[in-house]
Subunit: 473 residues, 2 copies
């Protein structure tokens, strides 16, 4: 296990050194001021009062990490703090949060190469805004776009609803500038789509959740904006039929952009929570929301696949072309989270399964003893399911309730493991899933993770509670 | 620098142990029998006589690597031996070639998940054959398809003519089973498209050129076969105009499959070498070969972009729909290598540049003093150029000629570095480019490569002459 050599109290002398590096205004120590940095937005993870440092340059990040190596304190990098697994909240008292909030550079997009270099602290919405009118867009989009940062999205290898088209964040990253755990700086921002010189450090840092490096800048690939988008809601009698249809759609719809799953229980909950009338023929059905984006007449691809699926579907598909009609279909999928929240704080799990196991896994989840009926939905096109048990964390949490919820979480993840899935599809490991990593990754793999960690962060400075934390941590 | 602890002669006792692991028939020691394994197909790289071991299972690979760690010899993994940079030919006498030729498993494709698991030794053509009629295809194709292996393609992160659509090998790999340098086995073949549990070892091993692990099995993503393909040849007055057109085509042609560059000197050479008549209007022009693949009427996308490019092009585009007409366009691009070979053995360099530097780089290459006019062509859509100087290696190689060719190679790679490019776009580093790695990667990056190498191959057993070799090696 990687261990920091000493465990100092963050003495005033250290604060003073941090102030010299980043300027006094950017070392926050007042507990009221640092409160928002020390609690994640789910409210499940929080840390004791500790300093928040906001470097304004790569050199300042490097100096902070070098100081951490010299003095012996932990560094927890933090972007928009919108993660769902606690990865940006310190687990140890001798920690400093390094916020990327001042790393706000945004270069002119290189429209010849379809690339852009942005600072780690740039918010997704800011990037999207900068690209408007260029003919290019960014390939990953998330509900948290106004808060989440590009650095955080790279660190967690974020996914979303267009992975079936563009892949995850790792597929958008062409290069990274970062400060490794030992304080050395690497920079690979020369703007190349192909570069087979050496190991793929960019891909390795993507998804490393702040445990190997503090990212400072990223070179991102851009995708062509599409002229025309069409959306359809298709109803099926069973999950099995929807999974088969998913394979056909992926195979025969070249312009496929999204392929999302909803189940009868989720549609019913959304309808009753918001008083919406379920689209005709979709009540009680397993529903796929399918979106295509491309050149003119892209909706023909949808029409063709609906013809091919004809007898399998339980009703005529609802097809939408205008943005308002499309939104009226998408709201059913997007309102799942809010509808679940109307029942109380849910247990939320983000898992992936091989397609052939999805039906069996969903059946098994619905058979589990639980305080509420599960709501399962997600990105079926990539085998990613969001499993929610509503109202598992009542406001007046008792220890018994916490134990029951923990037990339910373990049971669901055991089912994931049994069916060959992953305990984290797109949310990452963070603090929340680190104890469960060994359910789906082998001892050899975890040992390899630890050896890679030690190679790039020899003293174990960065984010010690995440991924490679020993069970004793 | 990582060093093997001892440097033993491969004594008969070691041969005997290897025979016990893989069976006597699969330890080849006769120099005549091992000759084809010890020389690469370019003829530039060869090793002294040494044993070739052909394990038949992952366990046998593991036992061979464990023996190498115990006794202290080097292991050089070898697939189809079709690489262009010498990465599969040992550089040290105390080496054993581990051939993947018996790792020939090919599972039934999983048509629900669009995935397939294959052994590292499976040839690309075998995989292509297995997928015929399934509606799915593999996303990377190469001229060496009858010889190259999937393991070798993953190890070198192979590219080819469809990277602009599907990405390189790294984008096709969903999981890897491999024996790491220390002899531990990792396996991540559960069939998931999304799995954010831990570091991306799959991506790290992809492109590691046999220096971190011996791959035994790979889980590959499949791509939908397309119904219809169309190809066009477009002529431009300058490289600059072709680069601008490339950006427009990438932005506005959703079904873009390939985007290749040819220059007047290459077209002229191909025409004269094979007695072909240059397609109308293309003589003396900078030519783009553009292919689209998609649903019915995909050629409309080509027609639209040709309309948009109208006044920039120097002639009417040649558009081909039938496979014979398409082949008559493609042969101009594909025959470049053979036409260059008619002049003698060329100096071949595979480099990438930012799009905005391509014109300046090509201008500079044509101004270099050289024994023959350069022929430059390649995958312009991804900024990848193949720079060839014909007849640089005459059969009767004198030392003076070798020095002159070496000098030319250094000058071209210095230009690559000056223009922010990479000394290897898709061929890898191998033995050939290891000395030049520091021209485009920083000392910090190379140091990080070495630390990763040491983490997964602590004794430096695997492929010691490649990527992380010290200058003293």
């Amino acid at each position: 296990v990687v261990r920091i050599p000493t465990s100092p109290v963050l003495a005033s002398s250290v604060i003073s050194e941090l102030r010299q590096i980043v300027g006094a205004a950017h070392v926050l120590i007042d507990p009221d001021v640092t409160a928002t940095y020390r609690t994640d937005w789910t409210g499940r993870f929080h840390s004791e009062p500790l300093p928040v440092v906001r470097p304004g340059s790569t050199v300042e990040v490097q100096e902070v990490v070098a100081l951490a190596n010299r003095i012996g304190f932990h560094v927890v990098p933090q972007g928009g703090n919108t993660g769902l697994v606690g990865g940006s909240i310190p687990t140890k008292r001798d920690s400093v949060i390094v916020s990327t909030s001042r790393l706000q550079w945004i270069d002119e997009p290189d429209l010849l190469s379809a690339q852009i270099v942005v600072g780690a602290g740039v918010r997704l919405a800011t990037l999207q805004h900068a690209l408007l009118g260029t003919g290019w867009m960014f390939g990953v989009d998330l509900g948290a776009r106004d808060s989440c940062t590009i650095g955080g999205m790279v660190a967690t290898n974020a996914g979303g609803i267009t992975v079936v088209r563009h892949g995850m964040m790792r597929h958008q990253v062409l290069g990274i500038e970062a400060v490794l755990g030992d304080g050395s700086v690497i920079s690979h921002l020369n703007g190349l789509e192909k570069d087979n010189t050496g190991y793929d450090l960019d891909g390795l840092l993507t998804g490393s959740e702040g445990t190997l490096a503090v990212m400072t800048r990223v070179l991102l690939k851009l995708r062509p904006s599409q002229l025309r988008t069409a959306t359809a809601m298709l109803g099926f009698p069973t999950v099995d039929a929807a999974v088969s249809a998913t394979a056909l759609i992926r195979r025969s719809v070249p312009s496929l952009e999204s392929l999302e799953l909803m189940l009868p229980s989720g549609i019913e909950l959304v309808g009753s929570a918001f008083g919406w009338e379920v689209p005709e023929g979709m009540a009680g059905q397993t529903v796929l929301l399918v979106e295509v984006a491309g050149a003119e007449k892209v909706e023909d691809e949808l029409a063709n696949v609906c013809d091919a699926l004809g007898t399998v579907m339980t009703a005529d598909p609802a097809v939408a072309l205008s943005s308002s009609a499309r939104a009226s279909l998408w709201r059913w999928r997007e309102a799942h989270t809010a509808a679940i929240a109307t029942l109380g704080v849910p247990l939320k799990l983000d898992v992936s399964l091989p397609q052939k196991e999805i039906r069996h896994f969903i059946d098994a989840v619905f058979r589990l003893p639980a305080p509420a009926r599960p709501i399962v939905f997600g990105h079926l096109g990539d085998g990613n399911l969001h499993v929610n048990f509503p109202a598992c964390f009542p406001k007046s949490t008792s220890e018994a309730i916490a134990a029951e919820t923990h037990d339910l979480e373990v049971r669901v993840l055991a089912l994931v493991s049994l069916h060959g899935g992953s305990v984290s599809a797109e949310h990452g490991v963070g603090v929340a899933k680190t104890p469960y990593l060994s359910m789906t990754r082998s001892a050899s793999e975890i040992d390899a993770f630890r050896r890679v960690k030690r190679a790039l962060d020899p003293l174990g400075i960065l984010n010690p509670g995440v991924i490679v934390a020993s069970s004793g941590d």
